[in-house]
């Protein structure tokens, strides 16, 4: 279990407990947190669960999957610290993770 904070572009914070084994995307969708669309349902076929990861966390989470950067090319305003939240698996190590959501997903 990890406490994850999802930060909306307007500054609103949502902190929820997410079970180990779920993805950061699923943690948002299951808790009805706005800002993550996940149109393709987590199959890495779209870029609508795009989040920004703070630098100190970026190296601690699992590395990008093959093809993830290809999808991120198609995200809204991708940056160096962009990730697809459907590719980040939650574990105890992620307790306290903060993800920033872009202004919009599409």
């Amino acid at each position: 279990m990890a406490k994850i904070t999802y930060k909306e572009h307007n500054g609103t914070n949502h902190t929820v407990d997410v079970q180990n084994g779920l993805t950061v995307m699923e943690g948002a969708v299951q808790n009805n947190i706005p800002g993550i669309d996940a149109d393709c349902g987590g199959s890495m076929a779209c870029a609508t669960c795009h989040v920004y990861i703070k630098e100190d966390w970026f190296d601690k989470i699992n590395k990008k999957n093959e093809g993830e950067d290809d999808m991120l090319d198609q995200a809204y305003e991708p940056k160096k610290n962009s990730r697809l939240s459907c590719q980040i698996i939650v574990s105890d190590d992620l307790d306290g993770l903060v993800v920033d959501m872009p202004e919009k997903q599409t």
């Binding site: 669309d37 149109d39 393709c40 349902g41 199959s43 076929a45 779209c46 870029a47 609508t48 950067d69 290809d70 090319d73 198609q74 809204y76 305003e77 991708p78 940056k79 160096k80 202004e103 599409t106």
Partner: protein, 339 residues
Amino acid sequence: MIKTDALIIGAGPTGLFTAHQLKLIGLDCEIVDNLDKIGGQCIELYPDKPIYDIPAVPECTGEELTNNLINQLKPFDIKFHLSERVDEVKKDGEKWIVKTNKGTSFTTPNVIIAGGVGSFEPRKFSVEGHEKFENKSILYSIKDKNIFKGKTVSIFGGGDSALDWAVELSNNSNVNLIHRRDEFRGAQATVDKVHEFTKSKKINLFTKFQLKKLNGSSKIESIDIEDDDKKIKNLKTDYVLGFFGLIMQLGPIANWGLNIDKKTVEVDTEKFETNQKGIYAVGDICNYPGKLKLILSGFHEGALAARACFKLARPNEKYRFEFTTSSKAIKNRLGVKSD
């Protein structure tokens, strides 16, 4: 005005199988899709990815599934309206008038929305003022490449479309290719060519840069691009092309008076009808308690919606359930011999 028993919006697997079910029970139908090809997400997002949960098909790719569904429709004459988006659905007595963005209009008692997550649209630039230049100096697809002759063209993106056009246009134009990272996701042969052309100065390549600002009043005169370290470069340019892939947008469906929750349309589980009589939603776009976003669920939903269409299309006839193994009428429709 085209008259049909049912109009299907969306040519993905669910839309295709729904058409099959309609034709099987003797109704006619036409299909509209905003993509330029048949297959929906299966063909646009994952043509090469294997799918393992289609009943009786242990493994097939998105493209194979689409081709099999098209084959299954071969006995029937179904008109497809591709590269058209349905913009308007309006009530007209007992019927619906449906209009597309290309001006095609239909009159039908039944509209079946099999639209997945909505229609595919090109992803656009997000910098300020991009709307002003759209379709003039900013383009997301190319219809006539001759307009670029002798001009400077700045191409953004790292996939096949961006790379192919950079190579092609470099013959007659001054080409800037700008991408947010060093790696490209295009075919290796094209990537190699881009690097070769960069060396020979046929293409000006800027990696780790993104569009920051558009300069110009009635048309674009130059652009500012910014790299990861916030370093800005100014490039003179006549055209800006963006190839960032396609995104899915619910689009005009939101304006048809349907109950929509989180980009999905609420339906009942008997007819898969929406809150509007004669408008159904099937596949990923529909929502009901227990909904699974699986292709197999879409097939079931389409089969039931097709039966519901019969009532409105043939109000004076009674629908009789029949099996394809034994029904003479169905075999006639399929063009196969009955025993």
